[in-house]
Amino acid sequence: MRTLRLMGVTFFSLVALVAWGAGGHAENTDQQSVYAEIAKAPEKYRNKQNPMASDPDAVAAGKVLFEEHCEDCHGVGARGGRKAPSLRAKEVQEAPPGAIFWILTNGVVRKKMPVWSKLPEPERWQLVSYIKSLGPMDDSGSKK
């Protein structure tokens, strides 16, 4: 009986924790502070060339990976979602491919962007190829 009571208390504490903690996710992330993280990419990464740049399938493969792993937060076509900013902003589109790769590898864990090092390097570069292929888009949604 004591085990069941303890289990119930633990479980409902967790539900309360989820309900309380999830509120933060529903709020818009401070987009500028997230974009500012790109500028922190070390020189070593900024200078890296995308090894998948000449692969004709890289953009298509990156699109599939984006839909599977990123779209839920960053929105359809990377236009931004409830949880994460647009990747069509000039801060992202004008960033060197290596800087985007660095963000994918390290995440921005204090600002809710998970680490994606669990995806193999070629897949992360395919994602970079796709994101860069989208081109910039302004806040009104029109392509620049």
């Binding site: 009986m1 085990t3 069941l4 303890l6 289990m7 633990t10 479980f11 967790l14 539900v15 924790l17 989820v18 309900a19 903690g21 999830a22 509120g23 996710h25 529903a26 399938d57 298509a60 493969a61 990156g62 599939v64 990976l65 839909e67 599977e68 792993h69 839920d72 409830r82 949880k83 590898t105 390290n106 995440g107 921005v108 864990v109 204090r110 600002k111 809710k112 962007m113 998970p114 680490v115 090092s117 669990k118 995806l119 193999p120 390097e121 070629p122 897949e123 395919q126």
Partner: protein
Amino acid sequence: MSHSCPKVFFLFVFISFFALAGAGQIRSQENPYIVAYDHNLEEPGNLEVEYFSTFGTQRGGNDFHGFWSEFEYGATAWWTTEFYLDGQTTFGDSTVFTGFRWENRVRPLKDEHWINPVLYMEFEDINGADKIIKEVEGHDVESDFLVPNAIARQDKTREIELKLILSSNYKGWNFTENTLAVKNLSNEPWEFGYALGASRPLTLKGAAQRCNFCLQHFIAGVEMYGGLGDRYSFGLHDTSHYLAPGLAWNLPSGWTFRIEPTFGLNGNSHQFMLRWGASYEIAGFGQKIAQLFRGNHE
């Protein structure tokens, strides 16, 4: 009570899976490990519902089927919390609910490093009939499982378990090393154990079309785990050790399936176990719960 607990367990699992209908989905990228942990945490706001099963052979007694459900939630990008429900069937004996566990994994460093530490803390409230073998600790041996369920379940165990997880991703490979220390909250000594793992996707490049059977969705690996004795008798002796090759299949729909034949490495170990699991990742679970409580419809 003894008959109602397994029913509560199965009802809970059923309702949880039923609740998935209409939920958002996301493809997870899970390694095949069942015992070892790597440093990859759950994405924030996502809930992964998992069911695992262990068929184990037992010398001198009846074979068994240990099973458990996990509810793994990404509280933040650096903190994952998980709730377990355990049960087992010993063939020719009975089916019993054996307890629950609550674990937390915290990533202390914000960037990716050559070796990435994760701190693990777990509270478990289980009884002596528990047979899921989620870890091997102290002097755990095969003969511990010979006690009939009716007697074994009288033995209550409340433990705090700490783990240091050191994990690396390198050229598509994951290597992980876990060291664990367990303290029974009654007056028993600290016990220790270990788990090691290595895994790699069958191919490192993503396919240009969405597909279920592309090699990128399959991750093969191997894990080894065992006990390290206790503070009075530390070492690899008088405990059990296992080697387990495994395969994980991560479907684009959000489902992951794992299978892991497990082989005992010494006379103290179960000779063979077959472990498998199915899991489903629900994207944006946190937002749905928040909306439920706050009426916040976006």
